[in-house]
Amino acid sequence: MTVVMVFLAVIAVIIAWWLAQQRLASKPWLEVGHTHDHRGIEPVPAAKIGLGVFLAVVGALFTLFISAYFMRMASSDWSPMPLPRFLWINTGVLVVSSVTLHWAKVEAERRNDEAARTSLLVALAAGLAFLVGQLFAWRALSSAGYLLSGNPANSFFYMITGMHGLHIVGGLAALGRVTLRTWDAPIDRRTRLAIGLCATYWHFMLAVWVVLFALFSGWANDVVDLCRQLLT
């Protein structure tokens, strides 16, 4: 459970940092009047905060999966699974998707609607390609005899990549909606915000994927060993 404790510690630091600015030591019973409210003129859009909180929840979900992975790994029946090289291409595709989405955000802010639309479409296509690629990777693995219930390493691989894939599907649905919206109307403030949110989500899912990839390919083993040493 060390991994999830570290994750929660990070969240706790963020919450503590935010709370520290909220005058928790003030004496509200002595303060009358509304001028004690120090919130800025320009509030951060609610959707942005909402996405931030949601990503914290998603982060907790994946760190818990990773925690379970490490704990289960300690059993003697664990035999790591070779990863198909194919996954490198998938990673590349997801990076492309993330970069183009970031580009779409930048172009939308520069009011280049046409460029933004194009890069949104590219990002959408790359996202779809990633999903298809993951399915191919699954097929390659299962036809090589690495079945879901064969070994816990396999089970974790299929389950966690599946969970990541589901999150990508959700992201694609949102991205698709935003792309459609840019198609019928010029990009306004709301759409620009939505593109930005999609980009943030995408970068996050890319980061999760990179961590998972490192985990499955065994590079994370050193970290695991370190965790074990800390625990014992």
Partner: protein
């Protein structure tokens, strides 16, 4: 209201907090059924939770009938008994307490108390309810599925949960249970995001964090905890579903059943326990913190006195929330873990007693020399304090490894957790319903029926759970369908069990009185007016009661003071609403 800009050099907030784009319903369906109004959603959540809670109540009757009068009722065989205790526990903890506190009270009170028109994401809020309803329906469906609901105990420990000797283990029961939990968590996440972002972004002008009523503090801290803790249950459920349906071995060790070696091997049941309790312990506080918050407001309002040590109360809520993530393994003292871990978790567990005790002292000190009105909400609040202290003290017993080991899996544990997270929060729920029902409906609940409900419930709950401590000390194990004639089972155990069962039947019947009261008072209750308790918080200051869609009419309220200005010396009345400007500035306003 004229804008007062007297604080020279201070940051002056914008004249109006950005008004949300309010969704306007066009038909009866979108107004009352597929509503995006947090108040309607709150009522939907509450009704659903209470409805499924009634199922849990009937199950508890059946459990008690079996324990009190073993062998009398042929309907309740061992299998059914396990199904009943499992479903009773799961419904009460997740589908009633969590849903009612966060989905019900959270939805109703957060926007009103912080001065918002609605939740920030009304559509997701609506989805949250319908997904919750789906979860409840899936759960209820397991009663009708072949093989019946799961009988694995509410903790659903593998490997037994998915083996054929456990009711529902190889049938639909466990599948529906796990699916229902997964659905519930998805739905809750949508609601939870709303509660957090509404408190962060939706507060009215002047509503600083330290002016929020403790109810909001309690609910919001619990929500943040739930958002971070429920994923652990989600992961555990997904992994167990894989084990059950797809033949993986996440949790399942090599195991033989009916003389046959199963396909499983190498899995770790302890891994499930870690995941489950990583959710399970914060869950106790997810239920307790909203109760703490609400009870603080009830006590302050009905004792006509500001809450004692408001800052301490806020800090204690936050600290309890943080600490509750590092105590989970105290549920696993008997799982054979490293004794040093036991020592660590016992220490963290006992440390939680410090902020909790601070809260109890502050409630008592708020009552000290207060102008105590023994209204129904106050009675329930007082009953809560007593019950919570009681359950908290037995928690100190069970938190110590050496004391816990002999008491583990006895009725003492059952008595402890029912007192501290069963009876205590439910007393708060009752108090809160008596308190806010006038705002929700515009009418008071019937006082006489309420008194009857209170005394039977309060005294009856003690009649049920006090003797259980003794049963546990004698060594009566929990989860046993029948005690048989083991030497430690004395006659007093049997007669106490019968006594407890009779008490449970009576307390259950009192809840029907309460339900009748809820329905009857809708039409026949006394007219309440806008602020019957003469309370300070914003929800009592709405222009109309019950508050209409959008809550505040044309203008959002502006907050000038904290939530506890009761019996302020020199004030004309014994309460000053949060949205009332300072008297000196009123004259300034009149002049300008």
């Amino acid at each position: 209201m004229v804008d007062v800009r007297s604080g020279i050099g201070e940051a002056v907030p914008p004249a109006e907090v950005e008004d949300v784009e309010l969704y306007h319903p066009h038909s009866w369906w979108t107004r009352y059924v597929f509503s995006q109004d947090a108040k309607i959603i709150a009522i939907q959540y509450s009704t659903t939770a209470i409805a499924i809670g009634m199922v849990a109540l009937v199950l508890s009757w059946l459990i008690r009938l079996q324990l009190g009068f073993p062998g009398t009722f042929e309907l309740i065989d061992a299998e059914r008994y396990y199904q009943f205790i499992t479903m009773h526990g799961m419904i009460m903890v997740i589908y009633l307490l969590t849903a009612l506190f966060l989905g019900g009270f959270g939805n109703y009170l957060i926007p009103l108390m912080v001065g918002a028109r609605d939740m920030v994401f009304p559509y997701a809020n609506m989805l949250s309810y319908w997904i919750y309803l789906l979860a409840v329906l899936v759960l209820a469906a397991s009663f009708f599925a072949p093989g019946g609901p799961t009988g694995a105990g509410w903790t659903l420990y593998p490997p037994q949960a998915i083996l054929s000797n456990t009711p529902g283990g190889r049938d639909w029961g466990i599948i529906l249970m796990l699916s229902s939990l997964i659905i519930f968590i998805i739905g809750f996440t949508m609601g939870g995001l709303n509660y957090v972002v509404t408190v962060l972004q939706g507060r009215a002008r002047g509503m600083t964090l330290m002016r929020m009523p403790l109810t909001v503090w309690g609910i919001i801290t619990a929500t943040v905890m739930a958002l971070l803790a429920f994923p652990a249950l989600f992961v555990a459920c997904v992994m167990m579903l894989f084990d059950r349906l797809l033949g993986t071995s996440f949790f399942m060790p090599a195991i033989a059943e009916m003389g046959e070696q199963l396909e499983y091997g190498g899995g770790s049941p302890i891994l499930f326990q870690h995941l489950f309790w990583f959710f399970g312990h914060p869950e106790v506080y997810i239920v307790a913190l909203p109760a703490f918050g609400i009870v603080s407001d009830l006590i302050s309002t009905h004792a006509r006195k500001n809450i004692f040590g408001y800052r301490m109360m806020v800090w204690a809520i936050v600290i309890i929330g943080a600490l509750s993530f590092v105590v989970w393994a105290h549920h696993m003292y008997v799982s054979g873990m490293n004794p040093y871990f036991g020592f660590f978790f016992a220490t963290t567990t006992l440390i939680i007693a410090v902020p909790t005790a601070i809260k109890v002292y502050n409630w008592v000190l708020t009552l000290w020399r207060g102008d105590i009105h023994l209204t129904l909400p106050m009675l329930f609040a007082l009953a809560f304090i007593v019950t919570f202290v009681n359950g908290g003290l037995t928690g100190l017993f069970l938190g110590n490894v050496v004391v816990d080991v002999p008491l583990s899996d006895t009725m003492f544990v059952v008595a402890h957790f029912h007192m501290v997270m069963g009876v205590a929060p439910i007393l708060v729920i009752f108090g809160a319903i008596y308190h806010w029902y006038p705002k929700v409906t515009g009418r008071m609940l019937n006082e006489a029926l309420g008194q009857l409900h209170f005394w039977v419930t309060f005294l009856g709950a003690y009649a049920i759970f006090f003797p259980m401590h003794y049963l546990g000390l004698v060594g009566v194990p929990r989860r046993y369908h029948e005690l048989g004639d083991a030497s430690f089972v004395t006659d007093s155990v049997h007669s106490l069990n019968a006594f407890i069962s009779v008490a449970a039947l009576i307390v259950g019947a009192a809840q029907i009185v309460f339900l009748f009261n809820l329905v009857w008072s809708l039409r026949h209750g006394r007219e309440a007016g806008g602020n019957p308790w003469r309370a300070t918080t914003l929800e009592w200051q709405t222009p109309e009661t019950p508050p209409p869609h959008g809550n505040w009419g044309k203008e959002l309220p502006v907050v000038y003071r904290w939530a506890y200005d009761y019996s302020v010396p020199g004030a004309p009345e014994d309460f000053i609403p949060q949205n009332q400007p300072a008297p000196g500035r009123m004259s300034h306003e009149a002049a300008s």
